[in-house]
């Protein structure tokens, strides 16, 4: 969240909506992982994890220009 809350202005304008979108997907997937982990629901957990990984990669790409 800090990336989006504090560092969004450091990346090119066209990447900001990409970063926000990725952060949104990452956040929801993270909460889903937490929940399905607690429930021990392997199928949903793996599905949420896959969404999480894609979102992390999108976020990395969005911030690639300032790394």
């Amino acid at each position: 969240m800090a990336l989006v809350n504090d560092h969004l202005n450091e990346i090119p304008t066209r990447q900001r909506s990409v970063a926000e979108n990725a952060a949104d997907r990452l956040l929801r997937a993270a909460y889903a992982i937490d929940n399905f982990g607690d429930l021990g629901d392997r199928e949903k957990l793996i599905s949420a994890y896959e969404t999480f990984v894609v979102a992390v990669n999108d976020l990395k790409s969005a911030y690639a220009s300032i790394r």
Binding site: E20, D24, R28, Y31, N35, S47, A48
Partner: protein, 391 residues
């Protein structure tokens, strides 16, 4: 005797302390620990009011108000688990425009920072915060979001939703009474009974769709210089999906909604909004791609998807005869019951023969398996609203 009494006193004191600790422990376990640094009064209410308050308000179209902390079923705390599920499952708020696609007018996307606060609060014990900062009550205020319409056309008679009916779709024909042709820039609906009017579409009888209405959306007018044409004597077809909320089950509820028309001067030649639809396959399972070709050059102003199920994404793009790919709309996690017209922030000019291609993908398994019940589904179709190009 004295020694025994002293030992007994020590034993009883120790037992008492143990019981007190145990009682305290079990009491703590019976209530969810407060782990959220965000409180309803300070952090959560403003987010709910601004993002959910158009519908989730006392007397509003949603089945519960979220405009109070913990005051029975019409308050946020009892619904904290549902809030968590619906945000994580990408169902709420119901604005599915993917910001990686073309810009769309209107909408109420909730950013990740607000989602994070809501989720942290919902699973973190739903603290109230300072009772002195309790928000002032919010109630539903029926209003025309575009201001009073130029012509208000109520349903010709009341529709009664019978006691035993909880979900139905009805069509009504309404005469405009227009003695001459008029041009319309926007069409809206004022529900008579907001608690049962779930969504609606308004079209010319046997003709063009003028409006696709869902509760909470603000009215958006057609781009300047474009308009819908209403012939003299036109009749409108109003289709309403009625659905009772849980607290209204078994009640008789009557509705007499009204259509609002917003007129505009006649646009320049051939700037009448027309429509072109691409039908999807009847049975779509997994990823689906379907397409159609524009018969003539078009300046696309809006896209209207109708969906038969929940999708993970829906992308609409045009492929010009020269091979250029032009994105028109990108949705993430769209749900069929939230059918809308998406007005492009920047209309897109396309040459004749452009191929309109729609790609729909299934949702992630964890969302699909969440098993949220669909309220309404439609045949899979994507319609483009356009004016003839280059005029």
């Amino acid at each position: 005797m004295r020694r025994f009494g002293s030992r007994s006193l020590v034993f009883l004191t120790a037992l008492g302390v143990l019981l007190a600790v145990a009682a305290g422990y079990f009491k703590t376990e019976a209530h969810k620990a407060i782990t959220s640094p965000y409180t309803y009064n300070n952090d959560i209410f403003p987010i709910l009011r601004d993002n959910c308050g158009r519908c989730h308000v006392e007397g509003g179209p949603a089945p519960m108000s979220l405009m109070a902390w913990n005051d029975g079923p019409n308050s946020a705390t009892p619904w904290a688990e549902s809030i968590r599920q619906l945000i994580v499952g990408e169902q709420m708020p119901p604005w599915y425009v993917d910001s990686r696609g073309p810009a769309i007018k209107g909408g109420f996307a909730m950013g990740p920072a607000h989602s994070d606060k809501l989720l942290t609060w919902a699973i973190g014990g739903t603290p109230e915060g300072d009772p002195a900062k309790k928000p002032i009550p919010v109630t539903y205020q029926p209003r025309w979001s575009g201001g009073p319409p130029d012509l208000r056309l109520p349903m010709e008679s009341e529709h009664t939703m019978a006691e035993g009916v909880s979900d139905e779709t009805k069509e009504f024909v309404i005469s405009t009474g227009l003695s001459q042709q008029r041009w319309v820039k926007a069409v809206d609906l004022m529900p008579g009974s907001p608690e049962i009017v779930r969504n609606a579409s308004i079209s010319l009888e046997n003709g063009l769709v003028l409006a696709v209405w869902v509760p909470g959306d603000n009215l958006i007018s057609a781009p300047a210089g474009t308009a819908f044409r209403l012939p003299a004597g036109a009749k409108l077809r109003l289709q309403i999906h009625y659905r009772k909320q849980w607290q209204n089950e078994g009640k008789v509820i009557k509705d007499r909604s009204a259509i609002g028309l917003y007129f505009t001067p006649r646009p320049s030649a051939d700037r009448e909004i027309q429509s072109f639809a691409v039908d999807g396959p009847k049975e779509s399972r997994g990823a689906t791609t379907f397409a159609g070709s524009l018969p003539a050059g078009a300046r696309v102003v809006a896209i209207r998807p109708s969906l038969d199920r929940v999708y993970g994404s829906v992308a609409v793009q045009a492929i010009t005869p020269a091979g250029a790919k032009v994105p028109l709309l990108r949705l993430r996690g769209p749900r069929p019951e939230w059918r809308r017209r998406y007005w492009l922030a920047q209309p897109v000019e396309l040459p004749a023969g452009s191929r309109i291609e729609i790609t729909a993908t299934p949702p992630s398994a964890y969302i699909e398996l969440a098993g949220a019940q669909l309220m309404k589904a439609y045949p899979l179709q994507v319609a483009l609203d356009y004016v003839p190009a280059g005029r």
